[in-house]
Symmetry: C2
Subunit: 463 residues, 2 copies
């Protein structure tokens, strides 16, 4: 959809000619993200050979590019004499990401040969979990003393601009304690008079900051809410440890969404692209939840065991079991997905559980009545048209199914909407497999509701 012409295919050229220079030539006009795409399509050995043959700056650019997959694996295939300078030249947030992809022994080896400043920065950043602000921040930001003039700040940006992740947010530090005093945007700097002191430029509000352990989703929410290009990460004493920029956040948002969707579908997050993860790793990630849900669903067999006599007396009841429990499951997963999302965007917090319950009870009841009425007429119609024979007591069977549907859908909506609150209260991520979890819960309860209704309505006739 971009207007840029279809790029030539450097990976194809390389595979045909087997020549690293051919690849490089084909890439001359491409952006790093596109070259990374081409490298991603090569086998790791070939990609590593191409990277090794690239000029130093180009290689740094590529290892700095989050689009490049298998970064750890490719890095390990480089000679150490080539690898160390590349790592040193990378931006600090990408160094950390690369380091995270390396196996333990390779990390240990590297730590000993890296320059002291790089090593210390890495050690600091690696302390934070990768889903936290500290784990995705970069330490390359523009910090200036409060007493500088606008003119001096501009000169400084011209001097160091290329080495910083962003120059659009400038952090004004108190010269005494090096603590954060003020944040100005480059736009504000551009609009100000050259002789003005930088700490007087722009709106004089308490800067928005986050802590190193703030969750990256929360950082995304803050950056989105206040339309920021970057947010500073500060410690207790208000020293700036680093900044999280908006492009880190976009990457983080995309991986959070992937995780959420995968968890929602009832599995552990894959962490790797579907086509690249090994068969064994994928099956392992999927089998865990599937087995857990299976063990939960076994309760349905136990529950049904209690009603074996009823089923043998009225086999007609068994016909509606899948219909009834799946309706409960569907209404439950609807309610769960609604609440999980409302929680994620902060429309609903933990203490709103009661208000949600008060909405879901009538909503579930209404939905249940709608399905119950459809179910009732389905049975009556099939009977009338002679498509199936639910006699001797087809009206009673239809009533039983309808009332069971009302009960199951109401319970499903209520349970589905309350489960995310319960999970969060217990300290779990509400997105973790909530939908399949609720389906299992509702299946078991649904059976009990159905057969209890049947006993109530059909006793003395069918049962």
């Amino acid at each position: 959809m971009t207007a840029t012409p279809t790029p030539p295919s450097p990976e194809l050229l390389y595979l045909l000619a087997g020549d690293e220079e051919e690849f490089q030539l084909a890439c001359a006009d491409l952006r790093p993200a596109d070259i990374a795409d081409a490298l991603n399509k090569l086998p790791p050995d070939a990609a590593a050979r191409v990277l090794a043959a690239l000029p130093f700056n180009r290689a740094v650019q590529l290892f700095d590019e989050p689009e490049l997959e298998r970064r750890g694996e490719l890095f390990e295939r480089l000679d150490q004499s080539a690898a160390v300078p590349i790592l040193e030249a990378m931006s600090s947030d990408q160094q950390v990401e690369l380091f995270r992809e390396l196996p333990e022994p390779a990390r240990d080896r590297l730590v000993h040969v890296l320059a002291a400043p790089t090593r210390d920065a890495l050690r600091l950043l690696l302390r934070y979990p990768e889903t936290s602000a500290g784990g995705i921040m970069t330490t390359e930001f523009v910090g200036v003393p409060a007493a500088w003039t606008v003119e001096r700040v501009k000169a400084y940006i011209r001097e160091v601009g290329n080495a910083k992740e962003t120059v659009y947010a400038i952090y004004v530090l108190d010269p005494a304690g090096q603590t954060l005093q003020h944040v100005v945007s480059l736009r504000e700097i551009m609009m100000a008079a050259d002789a003005d002191r930088v700490d007087g430029v722009g709106e004089q509000r308490e800067p928005i900051t986050v802590r190193p352990l703030t969750d990256r989703e929360e950082v995304a929410r803050i950056i989105g809410k206040y339309n920021l290009l970057a947010v500073p990460v500060v410690d207790d004493a208000r020293h700036v440890l680093g900044i999280v920029t908006v492009d880190d956040i976009i990457d983080a948002l995309v991986s959070e969404t992937t995780e959420d969707v995968q968890k929602f579908g009832g599995m552990e997050a894959l962490d790797e692209p579907y086509m690249q993860i090994s068969f064994g790793a994928m099956v392992k990630k999927r089998a865990g939840w599937l087995c857990a849900l299976f063990l939960g669903e076994m309760l349905t067999a136990t529950a049904m065991g209690y009603f074996e006599t009823e089923i043998s007396k009225a086999v007609v009841l068994a016909l509606f079991i899948p219909l009834i429990i799946s309706s409960g499951g569907n209404s439950g997963s609807q309610a769960t997905s609604l609440i999980i999302r409302a929680m994620a965007v902060r429309e609903v917090t933990l203490r709103d559980w009661w208000r949600v319950a008060v909405r879901e009870l009538p909503a579930g009841l209404t939905l249940g009545v709608i399905l119950g009425v459809i179910g009732f007429f389905r049975i009556m119609l099939w009977q009338k048209l002679g498509w199936y024979n639910y006699d001797p007591h087809h009206v009673l069977v239809a009533i039983t199914v309808a009332i069971a549907l009302i009960g199951v859908v109401t319970f499903g909506s209520l349970a589905g909407s309350m489960l995310p609150f319960l999970l969060r209260r217990l300290g779990f991520d509400p997105a973790s497999a909530s939908a399949p979890f609720v389906a299992t819960l509702v299946d078991v309860t649904g059976l009990i509701i159905f057969f209890s209704m049947a006993l109530l309505i059909l006793r003395g006739t069918l049962l």
Copy 2:
């Protein structure tokens, strides 16, 4: 988690004092997004009174703030004499969003009183769907002729900077045709010499552009991939129609995720916050899909009808129906969520369906065998421990359940992974209720697989 002190609660102050000035005073130090939060918590009448009492610039800022909910409703409560200048002063992308929230008659009334340039810009932008680049772009960007010097560009930015959405991307236009020739960043402008021509600054690559009808998710992908702060939207002749900035994209990503999760949970996207949508509208949105799935699930009753004789002969089989069909549904929704996500992040495209099928078949088979083995031992164990009596043929029952599980889970994984391809091929959004859809499909097929296996294995003994 921000280090900013807890803000006072202006909405509470207002509700206690009933005084617009009190609210305004409490808000003096707050950012627009936080004032919007406070207004969101007031009843619409009170919020409109507060907005009407605000100074003009403050009111414009707030209506320009995407955090402000019920913008259309609040706008309608303003006097027309106050409303029109506010709308005129808003940024073009927010004008469009506000317009979209207004009812038809209010729009028609406004169109006649707006100034011609605003009206024309609005008409242009309203032509595009709100999920497209054209629907979220702003027309306020910095465009400069190719022949200008860096110095002149800087002077121009100082002059118009406040009225533009962003000054960090500068669009260099061909003076003859006003077409896009080059894009420079403000960082590059800062680093360049004052006397340089602007079209020679920065890397001389074909600019990245999108078309007005490009989907906003695709725009997000491009902005994320190339780490852009904004992307220009161009027509066929390469005229710049507007730009989409990174903060529009964050808002869009968050609403896309909400839509996806809601669709995934089996319902139409709510479009409104859970706590604010009317009861009727919510039930309507939920009932549609629930009824569609219910009608689909009715096929399970039909399918079971064919096996009524078998069930009456071997009631023990009925006990495992929920367990077996739910295992198929769970494995199906896992596979679906994996593939939907892989499609969304472009790891997998339509023509990969065959490669996915070749992975899912053995994956499903492996997962099926795992569950089958657990199921087999569950039945044998209960029998041994005397917890339940599956005799006279408990071994055969256990074998039937195990083999049915293998078949159902394999089928579920395969069907679940192929459904997103089918939906996309037919032009639908693969996220639309795929998971519940696949569950329904697998429920019906699962029953048929289960009873076919039973007939095969148990004929002559139980059946």
